[in-house]
């Protein structure tokens, strides 16, 4: 355990050092990423104003709060992508990682976790500007802050598991971008990324309860800006833990078969 902690700290430090070198590029990346929620925000704020100040139970200020927190959660949700898996398997880059006495997924989790610290730092001024423009309304308790902090890391781990599983398809067949796109389409609708889940039809909301997507997006945001009871907050964390545990089990199971397919081409 101590070795893993040491590895995570060292790896996160490397990641932070690397990302600081590219802070300008990171900033432009984040600014580009803000475009998507700003469009959603403008659309829903307009709808809310046209409907007498509220749409689907959300005021313009509540929408602003949702989508501003969305920007942080979206950044926390950035993980090693299936396209990255495709690249490292097809090019044989995985070989050097497999030679280490530590699972490559640990390397991915640690590296992107380090990146998050830089992201959070860079996000603060962006959030301040968005708040100044869109005037969000927040009613936040300490409990919500604590749960939110845990939930964004839970979301990060769930999404790492999901996208790693997706990326591992490349062990069997290369060039599976079309499957990735299908996944991202489903995630957009069922996670709360496009609109808060409470604005979706009842059957979509019911469906999302059985899938992991909403625990990576809607739940962390709603934990901070919504009106969840303490029981709802902690049961949400419980659901995240379940999905993480399930993800680890499935990932280990698939990995044992997948790694036999690795042909270490190109290096």
């Amino acid at each position: 355990m101590r070795r893993y902690i040491d590895f995570y700290l060292a790896s996160m430090k490397i990641s932070i050092l690397e990302q600081i070198q590219y802070s300008v590029a990171n900033y432009f990346y984040m600014i580009g990423m803000v475009t998507e929620p700003v469009i959603y925000l403008v659309v829903w704020t307009t709808i809310a104003k046209q409907q007498g100040g509220m749409a689907g139970g959300y005021t313009a200020g509540a929408f602003a709060a949702y989508y501003i927190i969305w920007t942080l959660v979206r950044n926390m949700n950035i993980v090693f992508t299936p396209y990255g898996w495709e690249w490292r398997i097809r090019e044989g880059r995985l070989s050097m990682e497999l030679m280490r006495p530590i699972h490559p997924i640990h390397g991915d989790v640690a590296f992107f976790a380090g990146w998050k610290f830089v992201v959070i730092l860079l996000w603060l001024p962006i959030a301040a500007i968005l708040s100044w423009i869109f005037k969000p309304t927040f009613e936040i308790s300490w409990m919500e802050v604590i749960v939110f902090f845990l939930a964004i890391w839970g979301a990060y781990l769930i999404r790492t598991m999901l996208l790693s599983l997706l990326g591992m398809i490349t062990f069997w067949t290369t060039r599976v971008s079309a499957i990735f796109e299908l996944y991202f389409g489903l995630e957009l609708i069922l996670s709360g990324r496009l609109v808060p889940m409470t604005l979706m039809p009842a059957w979509v909301q019911n469906l999302s309860n059985f899938l992991p997507f909403k625990w990576t997006f809607f739940f962390p945001i709603e934990a901070l800006v919504g009106n969840m009871t303490n029981a709802q907050l902690w049961s949400g964390i419980g659901m995240q833990v379940l999905w993480i545990a399930f993800g680890i089990l499935i990932l280990n199971f698939i990995w044992n078969f997948a790694i036999k397919q690795y042909s270490a081409v190109g290096g």
Partner: protein, 327 residues
């Protein structure tokens, strides 16, 4: 003594899709895909004792790198058995991975954007090396490879040779007992190749490490390996001392003759290979070498005469050529 590496009847086969060129064949392959089995390694056996440095030779596509990847645990063998340090590599237990290292000349594991000194710290954490041991090993290697002025520069700002030296340090910080080197000097200039060779030699002698090396540069093999295994089309052609390879596969010697009169025709003494001013090189069968040497000295005025074995590159080339001809 128990062998460090033991390979018995190792085979690694790949099933690869195959089709003819053109649109018609491309469309047909959608419905009826054909596969071909490629025998990258076919029934190879050898064992390597602790502390040996063995050269693994063969042309491109011979199966050298595939064998190395099976030994290092990256690939599952199709059949046969492989043990390294008593472990089955394909199971990749952490206890095994902590004792081996694979250095590939065309692959890097250090962070491109950071100074090597930062990446070395990550290696320490990955292998759980005690801090004091890590610092001592790191500083020793930095001194041995004369890297003191370079470890604080980002890797991307280093030359290819400097980067390779850093990669070698990074790969050896955990002091592996077995070292797999796949073309470690590829693309490097002669001086840098020599520096890396010297380092590997010192490392082997100092720590008693077992080394398996593939290289297309015969200078690497001659400098480091007493024993070579020659592989071609996935099968072993030769396994023995490098000197025996020359004896077994080269039936010629090379004579270098310097004459005051460069116009003299020497074709009656042997096959003239080169003529560079007054210096002529001849290829003569081993059986005739003594006689030809005596004849040259008695028939002509000779300023200088040398007798050498055929260059190892030519020997290896003749091994592969003879194998092709007998297939």
């Amino acid at each position: 003594m128990t062998a460090t590496i033991s390979v018995s009847n190792l085979s690694k086969h790949y099933k690869v899709p195959e089709r003819e060129g053109g649109m018609k064949a491309a469309v047909a392959s959608l419905f009826n895909r054909k596969y071909r089995t490629v025998k990258a390694v076919d029934d190879v056996s050898f064992s390597i004792e602790p502390g040996e440095v063995v050269g693994f030779l063969g042309p491109n596509g011979a199966g050298k790198t595939t064998t190395l990847k099976v030994l290092s645990g990256l690939l599952h063998p199709t059949s046969g058995s492989v043990t390294v340090l008593g472990f089955e590599p394909y199971k990749r237990p952490h206890a095994y991975l902590r004792q081996v290292a694979l250095v590939m000349g065309n692959r890097n594991q250090l962070s491109w954007d950071l100074p090597a000194i930062d990446s070395f710290e990550l290696q320490r954490a990955i292998y759980g090396i005690p801090v004091s041991e890590f610092k001592k090993t790191r500083d020793d290697f930095i001194d041995l490879l004369e890297l003191k002025d370079l470890v604080n520069k980002p890797i991307r700002n280093l030359s290819l040779g400097e980067r390779m030296k850093m990669e070698i340090v990074g790969a050896l910080l955990h002091r592996p007992k077995v070292l797999f080197l796949d073309e470690p000097t590829i693309g490097l200039d002669v001086t840098m190749q020599r520096r890396i060779r010297t380092f590997i030699k010192e490392y082997n002698q100092r720590w008693g490490v077992t080394v398996l090396l593939t290289s297309h540069y015969m200078a690497d093999v001659e400098a480091l390996c007493k024993r070579v295994i020659v592989i071609h089309h996935g099968r072993t052609l030769f396994d023995g001392e490098l000197s025996s390879l020359v004896t077994q596969f080269s039936s010629f010697k090379t004579l270098g003759v310097t004459l005051p009169n460069p116009e003299v025709d020497l074709s009656q003494y042997g096959e003239v290979l080169t003529r560079d001013g007054a210096r002529v090189t001849l290829r003569v069968s081993k059986a005739r070498t003594s006689q030809v040497t005596a004849n040259l000295l008695s028939d002509l005025q000779v300023d200088d005469l040398t007798v050498e074995d055929t260059p190892i590159d030519d020997v290896i080339d003749s091994v592969f050529t003879s194998n092709e001809e007998t297939k």
